[in-house]
């Protein structure tokens, strides 16, 4: 495990922001920290990237201890924060070369890497324009490129696509996927369930400073229960009868909808439709839903108890 953290605790004043966080990441994989605002994701990343010292617990990155060997850690990691940390009055190339020199690559190597990265992130055409004139998506890509100039073994990304338009988000995701293909380990925090689902090999759900669940995206979705059927009635007046007949749950948003768990088989679907037909309830359409990470997220991080699955 290239990233290992055990029992991380951190308090700011009277607020316990991290309350015993354990996590691991294998080399060359993507770990996503998913959680609501204030859950402690950013603080966890700050501890792992040596920006903040934990009050208790240990963490090592590639064998270097974050508390006792921070310089060793900094030599193998890079951090891209939530807001792009760029010099607006320098050009893209100048920003990259500066980071390369600060990573002690030497000027010629830094220049070569800058050219490579401008090319890779599709920024070569604007490389010599001042960054202040770039679009938000381009700035985000440059921010990512700046973190990669030293070819770190572990890259920390704090909310990498927050605030980006869909096209920029897609380009950023492509860049991130390419990164993993080169063997770099990624630890990213995100509020976007789709992002975790798409990019991560493993997801850690964090809430109120604790890890509430972890696993692959599919494992987490499976924990929430299986598939469900959503039946749309023609007449909302039939809702109560339909709920009773199917032993399902009415939707809270639309009086036409009834939901019930399903194993996804055609036989079950036929039984459902038969029961409705026998009861004289007209059905408009039926949809089958696989659980999403949304469901897992809501169910596993809810502060008020919610049923994770519907009793059959």
């Amino acid at each position: 495990m290239i990233v290992e953290a055990v029992g991380l605790r951190k308090a700011y004043g009277s607020q316990q922001v991290l309350d015993g966080v354990d996590l691991t990441a294998a080399e060359g994989t993507v770990l996503a920290l998913l959680g609501p605002n204030g859950a402690g994701k950013t603080t966890t990343v700050r501890v792992l990237s040596t920006l903040t010292q934990p009050d208790a617990g240990t963490a090592t990155i590639a064998g270097h201890d974050v508390v006792h060997d921070p310089v060793g850690v900094r030599g193998v990691i890079s951090l891209t924060g939530q807001y792009a940390a760029l010099d607006d009055r320098q050009t893209g190339r100048e920003n990259l070369v500066m980071l390369g020199r600060l990573a002690h690559l030497g000027r010629p190597t830094a220049r070569r890497r800058a050219d490579e990265l401008l090319e890779r992130f599709d920024l070569a055409a604007d490389g010599d324009r001042r960054v202040g004139q770039w679009s938000g998506g381009m700035r985000r890509r440059l921010d990512l490129a700046m973190s990669l100039i030293s070819a770190p073994r572990v890259v920390f990304l704090d909310e990498p696509t927050t605030g980006l338009d869909p096209a920029s988000r897609a380009t950023t995701w492509d860049a991130i996927s390419e990164l993993v293909a080169t063997g770099t380990t990624l630890v990213l925090t995100t509020q976007y369930l789709e992002e975790a689902d798409r990019l991560a090999d493993r997801v850690v759900l964090i809430d109120a400073g604790r890890v509430t669940a972890e696993g692959t995206p599919d494992e987490l979705k499976a924990r929430v229960g299986g598939e469900r059927l959503v039946v749309r009635l023609v007449d909302p007046a039939d809702l109560a009868r339909a709920v009773a007949t199917l032993d399902g749950v009415p939707s809270s948003t639309d009086p036409h909808l009834v939901e019930l768990p399903s194993d996804g088989s055609a036989a079950h679907l036929r039984r459902v439709l038969d029961r409705l037909a026998v009861g004289g309830i007209a059905v408009d359409r039926v949809a089958a839903h696989r659980p999403t990470l949304d469901d897992a997220f809501l169910a596993l991080t809810a502060r008020t108890p919610q049923p994770a699955s519907v009793p059959a």
Binding site: L51, R74, I77, L79, A85, R101, L102, R113
Partner: protein
């Protein structure tokens, strides 16, 4: 795309110096490309010179030509204005995540302060040159030997360093760029309450007491003495002691403020 890079070596003096050079180059480049800052460094000194010499100069009696009296004061005044730029640059780096990025690199993050201080010294050297050139055009007659010029440069450098480190510390302390600008405001007014523009014996007793005992007055008296031959007396040693003391204090303050910020 696989990348194989030669494994870099971190730590050590050579890297530390290299990092300082990189960050100084950055700060100077940012300064140079900021129109407001450049205007402040060049146009402001010229305006101040003209204002004091032509508008006020005729009414202030100093025993010498006013132009000869006021040059050191204008130089220090411009330093005060420049301090706000330094504070704001440091505050911007702290707010933008640049400092966080530097702290996750194998460099000494406080070197970023060094970069801004070095840029501040460069800007001040520029505005000092502008002031002196303009003054000469307006009739300034310095009669200093090369040694006296060196002494002037040395003392002014110490003073500017002390002020720049103080500004950097205020920038690290401030919670935003705006408050950094506000915090450094006080430095703008200090030169007025000294012998820079009027002899202190023309001030009411309380103000004269302040003016006589603040660091700027001995610096002014020493520079004026070196450049134009007016008596220096003990001002030279007092000025040196003040500047060295202030420099030590400012560097300590800036380190503390920076460490506090990066918790």
């Amino acid at each position: 795309m696989t990348t194989t890079l030669p494994a870099p070596v971190h730590g050590g003096v050579r890297n530390a110096v290299g990092d300082a050079v990189t960050l100084t180059g950055r700060s100077i480049r940012l300064s140079r490309r900021d129109a407001d800052t450049m205007v402040m460094s060049i146009v402001l000194p010229l305006l101040m010179m003209a204002l004091f010499v032509y508008v006020f100069g005729g009414a202030i009696s100093t025993g010498t030509a006013y132009i000869d009296y006021v040059v050191p004061g204008i130089v220090l005044l411009c330093t005060g204005y420049g301090a706000a730029s330094t504070a704001m640059a440091v505050a911007a780096d702290t707010a933008s995540g640049m400092v966080d990025r530097l702290r996750s690199l194998p460099v000494h993050a406080w070197t970023v302060l060094l970069g801004h201080v070095a840029a501040s010294v460069t800007r001040n050297a520029l505005s000092t040159a502008v002031v002196i050139a303009a003054a000469v055009v307006m009739g300034f007659h310095p009669d200093a030997t090369p040694v006296e010029w060196l002494g002037t440069a040395g003392l002014l450098l110490l003073y500017v360093l002390a002020l720049s480190w103080l500004a950097a510390g205020l920038g690290a302390l401030a919670s935003s760029i705006e408050s950094a600008s506000a915090l450094s405001f006080a430095m703008l007014f200090l030169p007025y309450l000294s012998s820079a523009f009027v002899p202190t014996d023309s001030m009411p007793a309380v103000l004269r007491a302040v003016a006589d005992h603040q660091p700027i007055t001995p610096v002014i008296e020493t520079v004026r003495g070196l450049l134009t031959g007016t008596p220096i007396g003990s001002s030279g040693w007092v000025a040196l002691a003040w500047c060295v003391g202030l420099l030590a204090g400012s560097v300590a303050f800036a380190s503390w403020a920076f460490r506090r910020r990066s918790r």
